[in-house]
Symmetry: D3
Subunit: 135 residues, 6 copies
């Protein structure tokens, strides 16, 4: 009885894509408008997927209220209405691309789930651009 459950949450943040080891011209060529020195922002939609066995006593894999609260503590409270580059330790030295944000969210969530549960993160930067980790 192996199932996956998914919980969707969202947060709004500012960010700027930039590699400090490159020249301004190189950053502009690679990241284009996303390199804007004054930042831009997104409504990030986050889907957390947890896979495991159904508990026969509850009929639950995990209690969605508990999973939702965990996402709020580990992700939403940390990133919502923040400037990812300036207001977070996670992205002070890491480029806040959708790919990297998904990896960081996975790393923040993983220690708080039982070992026998699998975890996957999908992050929508816009309705048309999204990423999944691990693939």
């Amino acid at each position: 009885m192996r199932v996956a459950v998914f919980r969707k949450e969202h947060f709004n943040a500012a960010h700027r894509l930039h590699n400090p080891q490159w020249t301004d011209e190189m950053n502009q060529r690679v990241f284009g408008k996303c390199n804007n020195i004054h930042y831009h922002g997104h409504n990030y939609e986050l889907i957390v997927k947890v896979t495991g066995e159904i508990d026969p006593r509850t009929g639950y894999l995990v209690d969605m209220k508990i999973l939702s609260d965990l996402i709020k503590q580990q992700v939403i409270d940390r990133f919502d209405h923040k400037n990812l580059n300036l207001d977070t330790v996670e992205f002070s030295n890491l480029n806040p691309t959708a790919e990297n944000i998904a990896v960081v969210i996975w790393q923040l969530m993983r220690p708080h789930l039982d070992d026998h549960l699998e975890l996957k993160v999908t992050l929508y930067e816009t309705e048309r651009n999204f990423v999944e980790y691990p693939a």
Copy 2:
């Protein structure tokens, strides 16, 4: 030429989460508002995924009209506008969590598909809570 086809259908139902082997207090603590003795309800969105080889004569994996009719017969007619706890045999002794509903839908559909086809069920209880079986 292995492809998957997906068909989306929906049904509306009432349910209550409850474990009859537990005290009322325990049920309340575990299931919270979902334990409401008078039931609550959802618009369930169902996605049925079938995987196999394309038939070169039709260009189809399966005829989506036939798949849609099968879902209607096996799932929608059984659960739509029903109280899952009171009006169905499937959940008379099984807690109608999203996880268990997805498993039951898979079991209802499986015998009606050719053996060489794979079947997966995704069930949205709300836009923000959904499950997949098998994972």
Copy 3:
């Protein structure tokens, strides 16, 4: 500078459509599956529209956080995860059609908004059926 602001919230509830002054046969003929004696349910999506002048000090018509909290107090806490027919005073003698639910929500919200603000309620019973009050 007359603008409208909209806030979307949701709740899940069970209900049954029934006119106690009619025979069972008449109820069945008029309300069909929605007359199921054991109830069925929906994910209701609610959009509250408030119209008025922008406050030049804030750039707000109303603070969306305050509007959201008001909807939660007046509507969500009252109806979410409830059986509208059995668990609420509003529908103990009123048929809980989408039309009537929208009118009741308007009546619950109206006293809590300033007189110079206009109020309109849109209620989605399903993605394909929705109502607006006042029209």
Copy 4:
């Protein structure tokens, strides 16, 4: 034959809500997380509504390609991937609330449409918060 046509576009931007005539404490109390000194951001979804008579030669009210290009020139090129507070003249002295952004977009578009056409702007700041101007 009076019809309305709607065109949907989007842009991503950073912003901060702030009234420079207030103390920091007052700004924090009124605008909360939206007052974050380092900005946050959104995916803004914009719907432009134009109302008028169908041209019997084309069957069009306006050519949607021309309307889309006009929105891109007047709105998207100006605000997309920008910090509204720092990178735009429109919000250098105006608080970039959804209400004010909708009014500004209307003012930017209005001169470029024929006088006999009506214009309305709907702006989604998030899926759950949106505004309309004029109301």
Copy 5:
């Protein structure tokens, strides 16, 4: 107790935009890719809005099942999986723009609704282009 109810339906059709009184060059310049001689197509999403008074016996404005059946008879059966230019009398001499299709749908529906009910039609040609009649 004046309310509006909305019912959403959809149909898929091919069409070509063309004015037979114009040269090919003029048609190409005005209608661009939509003038393709071999047709292209859309998933049309249709929202029918009916406004009037709630019937106190039912709590309904109109029975949504009856409204849905009426849309199917008057609109879906006529246009679904059709070539609007070649397979319908309505567009044999009328350019099937979204504006004109909305007007035609209104004209097809209007005679079948009670005089005291108001009717409005919204038609999505794509997620980003839609029209409303009457405005």
Copy 6:
């Protein structure tokens, strides 16, 4: 650091399902309304998934702008506002079912991606019918 990135694009096209080796009656029985000799059409929503390792210099798997441009060149410019049966070489001898269109899009995209990247295509023919290749 294996991730997947997804890019969503869309195109509108006409098509007809037909097997030239069958009688008209057989085609009508198998393909029903989709066999209409004058074609019908769809808004196709396309999701292209690319899987591989994050480039530590950019934080990207692939630049979404480059991926979007590639989809436009290889898929959108070829199929948008076209009659798939008449205007394309790909479907001159291949039935344009959603399954076959997904396979063709994969074949068109594959040569333009680095060998170490995996490619998957999801194609929505309608909101309720979609396919994935490879499965």
